[in-house]
Symmetry: C2
Subunit: 335 residues, 2 copies
DNA sequence: TTGAAAGCGCTACCAG
DNA sequence: CTGGTAGCGCTTTCAA
């Protein structure tokens, strides 16, 4: 592969000149530009980004750390970052495989080695302390879907607690009084907070989830189906079901209907996340919109700002996001 | 950020030695290793991947060129590549934004500048000639979802024609005799081939798609809905509907049911791709499985092989994939 | 087993 | 406007 030297030699100019035309630098004669451009073409020259990164100390790369790309939620997150990357003529470097604190750390370290200018990190397993440490060491690092007070201005997160409250208010306004809940068994804050917000709001009006009507499962379609079966097995009745996420909610609806319950006529089901799926399901799923793509874009932009200004002070834009109720067909007024 | 020099100086050894322990090179005394490791830790040293790439002439990077990450189909593709990247301790570099031949070329050029060891490219707009040229210039480049005879061993593709035939055979075996078809209006081969295979097979038994019952639309849920409305507006009846992809098929089912047709009781609907969605829809969608993740993994592995052996000869594994019928609930026997 | 030194391809500074 | 050149951080001979 041709190098800048080859181009310089054949064009009969110095590498400095070639570099100038490459970077559209000032003060290059038209003649030189043309000559160099021509040779570049002939040689099929392509500047080596690694060499550039080495000398300029910036990689024009935005790193993203997510569990995987299969989950549409994370794909949206990556897509959001990708958009701001592209807008800034940067590339997306992906690091996945998060199953434990160690693998999360590895994924992040890989990006550090690549000297990503910005890193958008979705970490659920690493401790606050570890993340705080990382944030101070790595300038462009921004946390997404996580809130750590000490580095609040580096966090872009969703208020899950408020999400739970909004869910409760919606169901309450629909005249429901007997509730069930399906949540994720995973040991992270999100399900806890959503449930807590939901219950808090119910209790504020003297209501609550029916005894024994909280079930746990994997946050998947199957998990939702199984949890619903357990709910049904209890023999207790409920008219409204708040589910941890859309996949589980769709699984729940499926099981409910298989057991003769109409949604929403008999039971209203409310999901969370508003993934693509929720618009495709029948009935179309009422859910809480998690603006992950938008959040991802904000996170990337914050990272960009930090690295640009070398200051930690970001714009005033709040990094806390509130989920928005999306009323579709799976919830309705309880007669 | 600490460099190898800092480590060497503080550890009281040469950079060569530090490099050796970094690369677990041979012939380094235990004492040196320990000493260096300790200093690395203290300094929070992280080797600069760009510098490494520059000198070793390999970037430990696999590039992927796809339109976007939002489409679950492409997310799966990226995910497949990512898996083999991770298995080989490499990273995924993403390049998107394909809307024209120029943007596709740009996306590819970016990856070339990064000197990706392997590139998995999904290109629909670039000409065969351009791609052949690229393939000869870029060793690790592999095309996915496209077949170009001149570089057949660098192509991993799906037999869309056969897919159409399989679809026809399935519907025919289900006793259907009056067919409609919804396809994509996009100017690429895939829809044409699927339709062509479908019709060929029908015609081989003296059947065919009803006159005027081929509709075109965007390959999305909405596109499927609109196309179905046009189909219905024709007033003609049909008992089986073959749709370009799952998203459109789900849109079609939705519109069909809104108009009083039961699926599959009144009309059987067959999709294509077998994306996640198809398992979540009600009725669950019968479709043709497009093993894109598997294909992506194969493509990445072929690229890896080529760059390793510096030969274009890949393993014997066929690069042509045949879609597999996945019979679920949206197609049934026609009484 | 270790160190010195020559680059990898490029940018940017300094002279001219 | 142009050329010479000193690195960027690292690997890899070649000697010692």
């Amino acid at each position: 592969m041709a190098t800048i030297k080859d181009v310089a030699r054949i064009a009969g100019v110095s590498v400095a000149s070639v570099s100038r035309v490459l970077n559209k630098g000032p003060k290059v004669s038209k003649k030189t530009i043309e000559k160099v451009l021509k040779v570049m073409q002939e040689l099929n020259y392509s500047p080596n980004a690694n060499a550039r990164a080495l000398v300029t100390q910036k990689s024009t790369t935005i790193g993203v750390v997510i569990p995987d790309l299969i989950d549409p939620f994370f794909a949206s997150l990556a897509n959001g970052v990708e958009q701001v990357a592209r807008k800034n003529n940067m590339q997306l470097l992906l690091s996945t495989g998060l199953v434990s604190a160690e693998t999360e750390m590895q994924a992040i370290n890989v990006l550090i080695e690549r000297r990503c200018d910005v890193m958008v990190v979705h970490s659920k397993k690493l401790s606050d302390a570890a993340l705080i440490d990382l944030a101070t060491k790595v300038p462009g690092l921004v946390l997404i879907d996580r809130y750590i007070e000490a580095i609040a201005q580096r966090c872009v997160w969703l208020d899950n607690l408020e999400g739970g409250r909004i869910a409760a208010r919606h169901l309450l306004a629909l005249n429901h009084r007997s509730f069930a809940c399906i949540t994720s068994k995973h040991q992270i804050d999100d399900p806890l907070l959503r449930l807590q917000g939901f219950q808090t709001e119910l209790q504020s009006v003297g209501a609550d989830i029916e005894r024994n009507l909280i079930e746990y499962g994997e946050p998947t379609l199957q998990g939702g189906e199984m949890a619903t079966q357990k709910l049904l097995a209890s023999g207790k009745r409920f008219s409204a079901l708040f589910v941890y996420n859309d996949a589980m909610a769709i699984g729940a609806i499926s099981t409910l209907e298989d057991n003769g319950f109409k949604v929403p006529a008999d039971i209203s089901v409310l999901g969370f996340d508003d993934v693509l799926l929720s618009r495709y399901s029948r009935p179309k799923l009422s859910t809480l919109n998690y603006p992950i793509e938008e959040m991802a874009m904000q996170a990337a932009n914050i990272g960009l700002e930090i690295t640009a200004k070398r200051s930690t002070n970001t714009s005033d834009a709040s990094c806390k996001h509130i989920p928005r109720l999306v009323k579709r067909e799976s919830t309705s007024f309880k007669q």
